[in-house]
């Protein structure tokens, strides 16, 4: 669609320049995120190309040493806890908000999204201040609670999107057929909005798994998550182990978010009942 059927020379030049420029922009986008991958397999201890040789020694450091293992464990505890709470509560809230009768929808929605708008340092410092008073600082529960605030908006939005294609008459039909609300939720609504719910869960998981600022303020040495360990490592000294950790984290978020987006797209299509 770029070139007209009989392009002029000027047009050809413009389109060539556009492609060149865009090619450079795409390199700028992709090279930095791909760079840690070969470096993480480098057998040497430096970040310089050409690589000295291929080895998995840095992956052995990340997956094999106690410090990193603990960090991975903490990240998984926090991310699964966050995902569980954010998905359940976010789904319930999305169902409530999809009802036109919900009072004050126009006020509640911006409030629900506000954790995404407020700069995360402010959230982190505020949580630290409050959680220290109520004994939640330096606990898994504290980090999970703070992460839930950051992750639940994604669940509300994705489940909300899949609910917009959900026919409420199905719930009425279930009620008329004698199903109790809880039964009709599990047997009728949930199967149809499941892609949206799973997609929201994946977003919530990634949000928590990648989060470092709140963790930095709330976690003690015992709760250091993987991103926090990376952040500390980057501040102290650059070790190739960090490129291995970065590669692992990147792979996990990309896989989960691809799944989430595919599910979200499927969830938005109006479910067909034949």
């Amino acid at each position: 669609m770029l070139l007209s059927p009989y392009p002029t020379t000027g047009e050809r030049i413009r389109i060539t320049l556009l492609w060149l420029w865009c090619g450079m922009v795409i390199l700028f986008l992709l090279v930095p995120i791909l760079i840690p991958v070969p470096l993480s397999f480098n057998s040497g201890a430096f970040f310089i190309f050409p690589l000295e040789g291929i080895s998995t020694r840095w992956y052995e450091v990340v997956l094999g040493t106690q410090r990193w293992q603990a960090a991975i464990g903490n990240s998984l505890i926090v991310a699964f806890g966050t995902t569980l709470i954010a998905t359940i509560l976010g789904t319930l809230t999305a169902i409530a908000l999809s009802d036109e009768k919900f009072p004050g929808r126009r006020i509640v929605m911006p409030l629900l999204l506000s954790p995404l708008i407020v700069p995360v340092v402010i959230t982190a410092v505020g949580s630290y201040l409050f959680y220290a008073r109520v004994g939640l600082a330096s606990t898994y529960a504290g980090i999970i609670l703070a992460h839930t605030a950051l992750a639940s908006p994604f669940v509300v939005v994705t489940v909300g999107a899949s609910l917009s294609g959900f026919d409420r008459n199905l719930m009425r039909a279930a009620a008329i057929s004698g199903a109790r609300p809880i039964t009709s939720f599990f047997r009728v609504m949930l199967p149809l909005i499941l892609p949206g719910v799973l997609s929201g869960a994946a977003f919530a998981f990634v949000t928590s798994f990648d989060e470092v600022v709140v963790a930095q303020f709330l976690a003690s040495a015992n709760q250091r998550t993987m991103p926090l360990e990376m952040f500390i490592g980057l501040r102290e000294k650059l070790s190739p182990a960090i490129t291995a950790a970065a590669t692992l984290m990147m792979a996990l978020s990309i896989v989960l978010l691809v799944v989430a987006n595919v599910l979200a797209r499927r969830g938005k299509q109006r479910p067909r009942i034949d």
Binding site: I33, L39, G126, F130, R235, L238
Partner: protein, 426 residues
């Protein structure tokens, strides 16, 4: 629905006139509907309640608590009850009378006895740099008790210095505008007006300006890089567009920390960027890109590029190519057609992308902390360091307050002119 009685509805109507019984039935139907409606509302509210309560606890209260610290600081008032009393009659100029000196001496000793002297010294120091050591020194001398308290107080020049007592006086009020004004490099002067602090004490206006400048530079860079790519993706056939959009989404889905880590590797003195610059002949020597402003802007541009590009792309996708063809056939030159037909239509997308990037840049913390040098730290980094290093919660709260005001104001503009729906990126 129990109020609905079928017999009343089923009764055949004799005339079109409403009988008293009919109107009664209608009323009860309306009442039943209202009740059912109320029930629905309550049920949907109950469903949303757990998350709303959790957000209030985990996000709302912490935020309010932090912001209140910016204007409410009872430490000094609590620590100096007698001094507060003694200063009530003071007119605020010159030195207060000896009674105030004695009251302060008594307060200092009682703080020492309670073990809160250090807390007080720290709190005074936040408002009056250098006060910490003076307070602790005076407390030690009062403790020694070899001289009368008044003599001890008068012997320390700090307590007779012109700036000391106004600060103590303002500290005895729990609600204070001191920190908010300080966050803007302002203070109260002796006449009760607001003035700028001396240039050697001013830091924050410069930091806010720096934050805005970096945000503006990054926004501009993302627009220059992103607009043509968005145009290309919107113009090529579907299959190719899908591949190109993946190139935008892959970095978008990688966490900020991972991308910042990648840039710390790339920007090293012997890193790939320097290799490239040397090879291209742009630079004669290896540049110090780490801990520099330019390195910070490059990394932030990389992170923010998808945020600017995606809203622009989503608008461009809706523009029919036939419109441009129509403009050409009517004799418009390519540039004119672009400027008068295409640009006005993509403008909302450009606004959305740029505003989003600008707002997000204001809150950057990780990237400046790892890639920026000492003079490239943005406002979020100052907030964090006031909490972690200086332990000055009030100042951190005041800076948060101002940053939040800017952020919310910009989001208000965003929502006002573009609508909140444009926030959806995925």
């Amino acid at each position: 629905m129990s109020a609905l009685e079928p017999t009343k509805l089923d009764r055949p109507r004799a005339s079109r006139n409403w009988s008293a019984a009919d109107s009664g039935a209608a009323k009860s139907v309306a009442a039943a509907l209202r009740r059912a409606d109320l029930g629905d509302r309550l049920r949907s509210l109950t469903l949303a309640a757990p998350l709303l309560v959790l957000l209030a606890l985990s996000f709302g209260i912490p935020l309010v608590l932090l912001l209140s610290r910016a204007v409410y600081d009872p430490t000094i008032a609590d620590a100096l009850p007698q001094t507060s009393q003694a200063l009530r009659g003071w007119n605020g100029t010159g030195l207060p009378d000896d009674a105030a000196f004695l009251a302060l001496a008594a307060d200092l000793r009682s703080n020492q006895a309670k073990g809160t002297a250090y807390e007080l010294a720290k709190s005074l120091n936040a408002r009056l740099p250098g006060a910490r050591s003076q307070v602790l020194k005076t407390v030690r001398q009062l403790e020694a008790a070899d001289r009368p308290p008044l003599e001890v107080m008068k012997a320390v020049p700090f307590w007779s210095a012109p700036g000391t007592w106004p600060v103590i006086e303002s500290g005895t009020h729990s609600v204070t505008s001191f920190y908010l004004l300080s966050a803007l490099d302002l203070r109260w002067n002796a006449d009760g007006g607001i003035e700028r602090v001396p240039p050697e004490q001013a830091i924050f206006v410069q930091v806010f300006m720096r934050t805005f400048l970096v945000a503006a530079a990054v926004t501009l860079a993302t627009l220059v890089l992103g607009f043509p790519l968005a145009y290309l993706i919107a113009s090529v056939p579907k299959g190719l567009a899908a591949i190109l959009i993946v190139a935008v989404l892959l970095p978008f889905w990688t966490s900020i920390l991972v991308r910042t880590a990648a840039w710390t590797v790339l920007l090293q003195k012997f890193g790939l960027v320097n290799d490239l610059l040397l090879w291209l002949g742009v630079a004669d020597d290896r540049l110090d890109l780490m801990y520099s402003r330019i390195g910070l802007i490059i990394a932030m541009t990389h992170i923010q590029l998808p945020f600017t590009l995606l809203p622009i792309y989503s608008v461009m996708r809706t523009i029919q190519p036939s419109q441009m063809k129509a403009a050409y056939s009517l004799g418009a030159k390519p540039f004119t057609a672009f400027r008068r037909v295409y640009l006005p239509q993509v403008f909302p997308g450009v606004m959305a992308g740029c505003l989003l990037t600008f707002i997000l840049c204001l809150g950057y913390y990780i990237t400046p902390a790892l890639i920026g040098g000492a003079s490239d730290q943005l406002i979020s980094n100052f907030i964090a360091s006031y909490v972690n290093v200086e332990l000055n919660w009030e100042m951190a709260a005041a800076l948060s307050f101002i940053l939040l005001v800017f952020t919310l104001a910009l989001f208000g503009i965003f929502a006002r002119i573009l609508g909140l729906d444009r926030l959806k990126l995925v």
